[in-house]
């Protein structure tokens, strides 16, 4: 197997994969249990331990058979995926087609540690549309190492909403590579609640004028969970907006990481980049690392970034309590309000409702 990244690599400085390298992962076992699926009236592709389950899946007109396409990028996790991938979705939406929604579910479970490496490809032709709702769930010790190749052609719009709800012994590494053409949009939101260690790494290339990227995320972690959200946005054409709002809520001894890099090429004049990362530490042992990075080679650009790390404002808690709201509810209201800004750009009611539901029940578990 290709080597796992170590903290000596700059991109992996804050995320230590040694707990993963200490485990020897076998092949995924067969699954008999039927997963609990959300009640959403959309076509679905359901993977159990990395294998497409046709009985649980429904037909989706634009799904092609899996083909082990060549991956781009040379990140360690991508190379490992290239070596081991056996399946994934392969979606092509023809030009001008509004393909509606698609649900992509990955459910994992097994007694002994195992690993699988989904390799997904999504391509939207000119002016096409797709909303992909992706759910990662599971129980037990396993490693899911996902690669996504995304191509959004001119004027197309791809909404990618993701809920990572793996069990707390799981490892989830997801690497997304998105090429976004002129006037096209890639709108991403990940809500991370699960896994022992998770990392979402997104590389978005804005290749034509007024291409748009939203890379938003919220992570709510407790116990000894570790969640890493790492992005690179490359502005390679003029007039492109990019937006990143990343909110981390960390309880117990959880650790959060956000690394966000914005590269602006010389020709990418009038770039409009916005990046905000905020963390709420609910306990003195929780920790957050934030590393924003701007590399700007054009001279007429607007790029703003900001980062804050803090605790809940006790004055706000008191204000709510003085109005009769019990302390636990007051704290939950403020945490929800804190996350709201990252969730707000999710312009899809059913997805938003799904996220709101799991957020509401997260608090009960803390």
């Amino acid at each position: 197997m290709n080597a796992l990244p170590t903290r000596k690599l700059e991109a992996w400085r804050y995320t230590d994969m040694r707990p993963l390298s200490a485990i020897s992962f076998g092949e995924p076992p067969a699954v008999s249990a039927t997963p609990e699926l959300p009640d959403l009236p959309y076509p679905r592709m359901v993977f159990l331990n990395g294998a497409l389950n046709t009985a649980l899946s429904t037909s989706f007109a634009f799904a092609k058979p899996y083909a082990p396409f060549a991956v781009r990028g040379a990140q360690p996790m991508v190379l490992i995926n290239a070596e081991h991938a056996k399946g994934g979705i392969n979606i092509e939406i023809p030009a001008g087609q509004d393909a509606g929604e698609l649900l992509l579910v990955s459910q994992a479970s097994g007694a002994a540690p195992f690993a699988f490496h989904p390799r997904h490809r999504v391509k939207l032709g000119q002016g096409a549309k797709l909303t992909l709702i992706q759910l990662d769930k599971g129980e037990g010790t396993y490693w899911q190492n996902v690669v996504f190749e995304i191509e959004v052609e001119a004027g197309a719009k791809f909404q990618h909403f993701r809920l990572q709800q793996e069990g707390t012994e799981a490892f989830n590494t997801t690497t997304i590579h998105a090429d976004i053409a002129g006037d096209a949009a890639y709108e991403h939101f990940t809500l991370t609640l699960g896994a022992k260690i998770s990392r979402t790494e997104i590389e978005a290339n804005l290749l034509g004028q007024t291409a748009l990227a939203h890379l938003n995320a919220a992570q709510l972690l407790g116990g000894t969970q570790h969640g890493d959200f790492t992005t690179i946005i490359r502005h390679k054409a003029p007039n492109c907006p990019s937006r990143q709002t990343v909110k981390s809520v960390l309880a117990g001894r959880a650790r959060g990481v956000f690394q966000g890099k914005i590269e602006v090429d010389q020709i990418a004049q009038k770039t409009d980049g916005y990046q905000m990362s905020q963390a709420l530490l609910l306990s003195p042992e929780a920790e957050m690392d934030i590393k924003p990075e701007l590399q700007i080679f054009a001279d007429d650009v607007k790029c703003s970034h900001g980062a804050t790390i803090g605790a809940l404002d006790e004055e706000q808690v008191f204000y709510l309590r003085s109005r009769g709201i019990p302390e636990a509810d007051a704290r939950q209201i403020l945490i929800r309000a804190f996350i709201e800004e990252a969730l707000e750009p999710v312009a899809h009611d059913a997805s938003k409702a799904l996220f709101e539901d799991v957020l509401d029940s997260w608090w009960g578990r803390q």
């Binding site: 008191f318 204000y319 709510l320 003085s322 009769g324 709201i325 309000a337 709201e340």
Partner: protein, 247 residues
Amino acid sequence: MLEIKNLHARIGDAEILKGVTLTIPDGEIHAIMGPNGAGKSTLSYVLSGRDGYEVTDGEVLFNGENILEMDPEDRAATGLFLAFQYPVELPGVGNANFLRTSLNAIRRKRGEDELDAVAFLKLARGAVKQLAMKEDFLKRNVNVGFSGGEKKRNEMLQMAILKPHLAILDETDSGLDIDALKIVAEGVNSLRDEKFSALIITHYQRLLDYIVPDMVHVLAGGKIVRSGPASLALELEASGYAGLEAA
């Protein structure tokens, strides 16, 4: 209704309240005046249960019940309401949602049925209109971007909806224009009955023209140094607080 007996409270090492004694009978409205830093807001926070204040002596009975051991939310449920001198902004929290959560939390604690969204909105819209507030106040985030006067009106909106038995207004009149002042006064006067009392903290006689208090107290140096009828406020406006602290 409210009996404060020999109340001593400190913040860290600083003793702020040095033996406050004050009784507000059912149905009465009392005013507290006094110099900056006298401890008026401290008294209001201690009464409503904010953390960070240590009560070293004395007691506070609200309808016969010692409230000093109660959580702030429980004090609110028993009918205590504080209109903050500096209302707190809650970004990301919608005003209507906040009000409804608050009203229903209190109703739940009192064993009453919760109001559904429709019934609540009807109630809230009525109150908004009465306070001559813009309708979009309910949709906005709590106090975020509100002008000083709008924040104070928002406190009055909460009071109108929560219908407390004891309202403490901490300088609600500061920063209000004349029209708003009258609206606030109407808000208080409309709650006036034998089951409602209020403690109005103010620096100005002006508000007391519209809400005529049953008594006026002067808090200085952490103690009530003088009490008298409504006319005391006029007297103070003319003479100031000079010499009172020593009394």
